[in-house]
Amino acid sequence: MTRPLRIGHLYPDAMNIYGDIGNIRALQQRARWRGVDVEVVAIEAGPAEIAACDILFMGGGQDRDQSRIFRDFTDFKRSDMERAVNDGAAVLAVCGGYQLLGHHYTDADGNQLEGLGILDLRSSAGHDRWIGNVVVEAAEELHLQPGTLVGFENHGGRTWLGPGLRPLGRVVVGGGNNGEDGGEGVLHGRVIGTYLHGSLLPKNPALTDWVLAAGMAHRDGEGEPATLSPLDDGAELEAHRRAEDLAMGERGRAPVPRRR
């Protein structure tokens, strides 16, 4: 018998701002509706069972909590996270969690918080905070239907991807990674980093299924994720469409990145 799909929720108490818990709910429910057993494991400070997880999720936190988490993450989680990623576990990291995947985060005073360095990206504090609805044209290799992602960004940090990395998508409305290169988030193998809240997954069911399928492939030791059975996504897709319309109506008011 197959074991339950294991979702590791990193620092669920400290890194739970902006309703990011919705991502866990989306994964859990969409697995259950397909008869897939799910187990959500809270991964707290200190040594933890990261390598046994098929999907790892981390949200953003309040500044004070986040600096505490950065230290714990680099002290206790680095090698396990590296192993999990190399082993093909799926990772979804939002906002502070996304920044943490990179080499470091430079705050407004110039202090460098060391990250995990799993992905070749760097973040630093920007001059202003970007707050608003976002529409992203998702990377083609995700084969999402519909092909856009909708969400809400609220971040002062700017992120730059190293030369070997590609973004999760191209910004249509909003700020994205840095407002200069038009990218939003990062997609590398089964690792996704993004600034999008909303929560992100519930209104983007195709992306949820992509993460689920990747996690299931890890659980089953398969190279290629299987196609999941379809669900009735009427409510989700209607919410997606409405959110996209709403954001498109705000085009020009939100920070629109320059394209080079």
Partner: protein, 467 residues
């Protein structure tokens, strides 16, 4: 004494602006006169406030300001003194100024004896500087719309900074059941700590929407022995000596005979009866009581004032519409939503809900917070409620309810407020109340529709800010 010409000009032009604004029906004129007055004389409030012989009381915190301010102002007024207040929720500095100029005569003298103002958390600093209050009541610091207020830590620190600027002799009535509040008022002079010792309505543990899980002093985890709501309760740090301070006034018993009444016992032997319901309102009623006692009002008079209070603007009002009774429950953030859901379900046993979510600036543009609310309650409860999802973000709510486990056939999406109210009325039976839960501007929309149908009066008519 020669009249201050600049001040009298400010008062006169603000009054003219208020009249014009009402004439044009631009929303009751609750803040525009404040802008006008400040444009003429930046010192308007600074000059008017000291002339109030009974002084100024400021009420702040993320949840419960309007209710607490209403109870406090009403109870003080019941003792025979005229009290100036910003009742219609205009709680930024301009709103305070507008209320003060409306109260003043054309020579720049207040007609009232004292002022009780509700103040937005981020405007407390300026309100303290301009009014030099004799008391500040700090209710709580629960997660609010983050895209407006910034993060909770920052808000807490700003409230702490404002409190340190209080004039000598000022009192701080603080709900120390909230560790974020307790952390900010530590060691301040004039402190009157208050809290709930009653064990009648406790939660099994910290709900998801709780924010203060870490010690404000050393950052180690807090251990809660009692949780009353959100992160409010009795706690101590697992590492340092920070703990909930012993309250000067404690609530020793909470009874909720119905959805809209409370019977409360206090540690100084008072029995309070209030016409507001739900555990969250027990905190508001009690904060008003402790403030009244600290101001020197005797027990009986305080209890009488509390009993006279009737809820306002969407805070547990009922209205008749389409042959049904609708109970309006305003909720602005996850903790507030958890509490009104708890009240509607446990005390009201509601089976028909209209839940309206807007994403305008006053509601918070980001609706991510819906995922922090315990909507799972609506799937868990025995009453199998039917829910009309409304507001500009009705579809987000529908998705949230679906993932909470509420069956699709019990959810009806209707973005138009008029049709949403009609559908809710059609869904409910004649004998049951519809529980209407809405964010701030969604409540405005619903009330506007109800008002057109003759169900309620415009909300600013009870506000003295718009004479």
């Amino acid at each position: 004494m020669t009249p201050d010409l600049r001040l009298t000009a400010a008062v006169a032009s603000a009054k003219a602006a208020a009249a014009t604004s009402r004439l044009l029906r631009r929303g009751g004129g609750t803040t525009i006169p404040g802008d006008v007055a400040l444009a003429v004389d930046r010192g308007t409030l600074r000059k008017l406030a000291p002339k109030l012989r009974g002084g100024t009381v400021l009420v702040t915190g993320t949840n419960g300001k309007t209710t607490t301010t209403g109870i406090l102002a009403g109870a003080l007024e019941a003792s025979g003194e005229r009290v100036l207040t910003n009742r219609s929720g205009a709680n930024l500095v301009y709103g305070l100024v507008a209320a003060a100029v409306a109260d003043a005569d054309l020579r720049g003298r207040p007609r009232s004896h004292a002022a009780v103002f509700e103040v937005d958390e981020l405007h407390l600093d300026r309100a303290v500087e301009e009014t030099r209050p004799r008391m500040v009541v700090v209710l709580n610091l629960l997660r609010d719309q983050l895209d407006r207020s910034g993060e909770l830590e920052t808000t807490a620190a700003r409230i702490g900074d404002a409190l340190r600027k209080l004039p000598d002799g000022a009192r701080i009535v603080a709900n120390v059941d909230d560790p974020l509040v307790a952390g900010q008022v530590r060691g301040l002079t004039g402190l009157v700590p208050i809290g709930v010792d009653a064990t009648d309505f406790l939660l099994p543990g910290l709900p998801h929407a709780a924010d203060a899980r870490a010690c404000p002093v050393c950052n180690a985890p807090l251990a809660f022995s009692r949780v009353v709501l959100a992160h409010c309760g009795t706690y101590s740090c697992t590492s340092c000596d920070f703990a909930r301070p012993a309250p000067d006034y404690a609530l020793t018993r909470i009874k909720a005979p119905s959805i809209d009444t409370l019977d409360l016992d206090t540690s100084d032997g008072a029995h309070l009866h209030a016409h507001v319901g739900g555990v969250y309102n027990a905190y508001n009623v009690f904060a008003a009581y402790a403030a009244l006692r600290t101001l020197g009002v005797d027990q009986q008079q305080a209890a009488r004032g509390i009993e006279q209070f009737q809820p306002r603007f969407g805070r547990q009002e009922t209205l008749r519409l389409h042959g049904r009774t609708m109970r309006l429950l305003l909720a602005k953030n996850p903790a507030g939503f958890d509490e009104v859901l708890r009240t509607a379900d446990e005390l009201g046993h509601a089976t028909t809900y209209l839940i309206a979510i807007n994403d305008r600036v006053a509601d918070g543009r980001d609706v991510s917070w819906l995922w922090d609310v315990d909507f799972e309650r609506l799937a868990r409860t025995q009453s199998t409620p039917r829910i009309v999802a409304a507001g500009t973000r009705a579809h987000d709510l529908a998705v949230r309810l679906k993932y909470a486990g509420v069956p699709g056939e019990r959810i009806h999406v209707e973005t138009d407020p008029q049709r949403a109210l009609q559908h809710a009325a059609d869904t409910a039976t004649a004998i049951e109340e519809v529980a209407v839960l809405a964010t701030y501007t969604a409540m405005l929309d619903l009330r506007a529709v109800a008002e057109r149908a003759g169900a309620v009066a415009a909300f600013w008519q009870d506000g003295k800010a718009a004479p």
